[in-house]
C-alpha cells in the first residue's frame, strides 16, 4: 500500500479504475478460535467458523450480545490472535503472520484508551500514529505533519490541535484517537464498542462521521457493537454473533428478522422498517 495521499478526501462520485477485486480489504475464510482453561480441559469458549468479506468504503458491524465472541473476532481480525483454522487476510496477506509494523500499517484499532501518564498535546498524540512507517527511532517529517493535520481535519478536531490530551472531553478524546488511527493510513479500521461512553448525540455524531469517512476513503471500517439501531442505520453489512456462532451475515434488512433477533438477544423485540429504508428495533409492548 503506498503512503501517498491516503489521508486526502476523495469526492465520492469520482470514478476510479481498479484491477480485479483490488477493493477487497478484508477476507475472513472459515476462521475459528477456541480457548480452554488448560491444555487438558475442554474448551471454555469456541468461536466460528466465520466467513465474510469487507470492501473498501464499507462499514461492517459485528453485532451480538455480551459474551457472543465479538472481542475474540476483533482480536482475530487485528492479528492479535491466531485462528485455529481458516484464514484472515487483509489486502491478501494473512494477518497473524504479518510483521508487527507492517500489520500496523494495514490495520488500525481504536479501543478504549488507557490513562496517560504524562501530559501530552493532541498533535503529539496524533503524530504517534505514524510510528509504523520509517525506522524505529524516527523523527517526524513534514509529510507526517501534513497527514496528521489532514486526519485532525477529517474528524473535525482541527481546533483541538494544541490542547492537552487530559483536558479533553470524552467525545473530543475519541475524535483524536480516531485521528491517530487514520494517520496510520490503514486498509482496515477496527473500532471496539466506540459508542460505549457517549450520549445519544455523541453516538450519532460518531457514526455519521464514520459513514462520511468510509464513503470518502480507501479502507473498510469494522465496528464491534451491541447497539442494534445504530448498527442498522449506519452499516452496510452486519455479522451477527451468538454464543460463538455466526447465525447470519447480510445487510441490516436481511439480518434483522424478529425471531432471530429475539433468540440472539433474549429479549422481546419488534422489527419495523424505518424512514431511511433501514430496519429499526424496538421493545415489544412499548408502543
Amino acid at each position: 500500500m503506498s503512503a501517498g495521499a491516503g489521508g486526502v478526501a476523495l469526492p465520492a462520485s469520482q470514478p476510479v479504475a481498479f484491477a480485479a477485486r483490488p477493493s477487497l480489504r478484508l477476507k475472513v475464510e472459515q476462521a475459528s478460535y477456541a480457548y480452554a482453561a488448560s491444555d487438558r480441559s475442554a474448551p471454555k469458549f469456541t468461536l466460528g467458523p466465520v466467513s465474510f468479506e469487507a470492501q473498501q468504503r464499507e462499514i461492517v458491524a459485528i453485532l451480538g450480545p455480551n459474551a457472543s465472541g465479538k472481542s475474540t473476532l476483533l482480536k482475530l481480525l487485528a492479528g492479535l490472535l491466531k485462528p485455529l483454522s481458516g484464514r484472515i487476510e487483509v489486502d491478501g496477506a494473512e494477518v497473524s503472520q504479518l510483521d508487527l509494523r507492517v500489520r500496523a500499517q494495514k490495520i488500525a484499532l481504536v479501543a478504549q484508551e488507557s490513562e496517560l501518564l504524562f501530559p501530552l498535546r493532541v498533535w503529539e498524540y496524533v503524530l504517534q500514529g505514524r510510528y509504523p512507517y520509517g525506522r524505529r527511532l524516527r523523527f517526524e517529517s513534514d509529510e507526517d505533519c501534513l497527514l496528521a493535520g489532514n486526519a485532525l481535519a477529517q474528524v473535525g478536531a482541527d481546533a483541538l490541535r494544541d490542547r492537552w490530551m487530559d483536558h479533553l472531553s470524552g467525545g473530543e478524546k475519541q475524535r483524536v484517537i480516531l485521528a491517530r488511527a487514520l494517520v496510520q493510513q490503514p486498509s482496515l479500521l477496527l473500532l471496539d464498542e466506540p459508542t460505549q461512553h457517549l450520549d445519544i448525540g455523541g453516538k450519532v455524531e460518531l457514526l455519521r462521521r464514520l459513514r462520511r469517512l468510509a464513503d470518502e476513503s480507501r479502507y473498510s471500517v469494522i465496528v464491534v457493537t451491541h447497539e442494534l439501531n445504530l448498527a442498522a442505520e449506519f452499516s452496510d453489512r452486519i455479522v451477527l454473533l451468538h454464543k460463538g456462532k455466526c447465525p447470519r451475515i447480510g445487510t441490516p434488512a436481511e439480518v434483522y428478522q424478529r425471531e432471530l433477533l429475539e433468540e440472539v438477544f433474549d429479549a422481546p423485540l419488534e422489527v419495523e422498517m424505518g424512514y431511511s429504508g433501514r430496519p429499526r428495533v424496538i421493545l415489544r409492548g412499548s408502543h
Binding site: 487485528a78 492479535l80 508487527l100 509494523r101 507492517v102 500489520r103 500496523a104 500499517q105 490495520i107 488500525a108 484499532l109 479501543a111 484508551e113 488507557s114 496517560l116 501518564l117 504524562f118 501530559p119 501530552l120 498533535w123 503529539e124 498524540y125 503524530l127 504517534q128 500514529g129 510510528y131 509504523p132 524505529r136 527511532l137 524516527r138 523523527f139 517526524e140 507526517d144 505533519c145 496528521a148 493535520g149 490541535r161 496510520q184
Partner: protein
Amino acid sequence: MRPLTPQRILWTCAGLFGVLFVVVVISLRMGAYPISVRDIVDTLYKAAAGRRDEVPVEFWQVVFGLRLPRIALGILVGASLSTAGAGFQALLRNPLADPYVLGVSSGAALGAIISLIAAPHVVGAIQIAAFIGAASTIAGVYFLGRRGGQLDSPTLLLAGIVAASFLSAIIMFLLTMVTGSELRSIAFWLMGDLTAPPPVTNVLGWLGFLFFVFIVAAGAMYTTSSDLNLILTGEQEARHLGVNVNRVKFVVYIAASVLTGLAVSVSGAIGYVGLLIPHVMRMFFGTDYRMLIPTAAIGGAIAIVLADTLARTVVAPTELPVGAMTALAGAPVFIYLMRRRMR
C-alpha cells in the same frame, strides 16, 4: 505543530553541556586546597602537553588525584542514575519509580557488604562484588516479574519491592554481626561516596571502561525512545501501532538495571537523583523520550557534580556524603513537583 527534530535535541544538549562545563570548572576551583583557576588550567595544559615534571607535586595530587576523578565519577554516576530513572519510570508506568525500586541497589549493597566482611583489604573486591550483587538481583527480579512469560509492569514492581525488602533484611542482619571498622566503611558506602579508590592503578583506563559501559547501556535505551513514547500512552495502543512491547520492555529493563548497577557498584546508593532529574527535565523540555534521555543524563551529571561540590565545601573541612546532599536538596524539589502535579 512543531515536531521534535534531531537539531533541537543537539542544540539543547549543547546548552546543557555548557552548563555542565561551568559546573565542572566551579567544582575544580573549589576545595580545601587553595589553587587558582590559572594554576588549574596551567596544570591541565602541562598534563596534556606531557610535561608532568613541571607541575608541582601537590597541584598534580589535588587536580588529578582528588578533584578530577571525583568529578568524572560524579558525571558518570549522575548520568547513569538519571537515565536509569527515566527508563524505569516508563517501564513501570509509575512517575515515582527510581532506579532503586527494583532492588538493584540492595543487591549491590549486599554484595559490597559481603566483600567487606570476607575480603576487606582486597583492592577492587567491593566494586566487583557489588556488581555481581546487582546483576543477580536484576536476573532474579526479572524472572519473578514475569507474567505469562512477559514482563508485566505491576508484577515487576511488586517483585522488585519484595526483593529490596528481603535483601535489606539480610543486610541488616549482617550489619549486626560485623565488627567495628567494617561497619564504618559500609555505612559510608551506603550513603554514597564518590571518593572510593579505583580497583586498578590505571585510573584513566578504568574511567574509560565505565563510560563505555554507560554509552552502550544508555545508547541501547535510546534506541527504544520512540517506542517508549508510544508505550506511555498505553501498552495495548502501542502494540496496535506496531511496537514490540515485550522486546522494548526487556531492553529497557536490562539497560536501566545495568546503569543502576554500574552507578551503585562505583559509589554506593546516592538517592533522589534518579527520581527527580527526569521530572525536572520533563518540566523544562517536555516528555518526549527522544529528548528526555539525553537531557536527563546531562542533567543528572550536573546535579551530582554540584551536590558533591557542596558536600565537600559546605562544612569544610569535614566532608559530607554526597547522598546527604542530594537528599537535602532533593526533598524540597520533590515536594514542589508533587504539588505541581496536584494542580
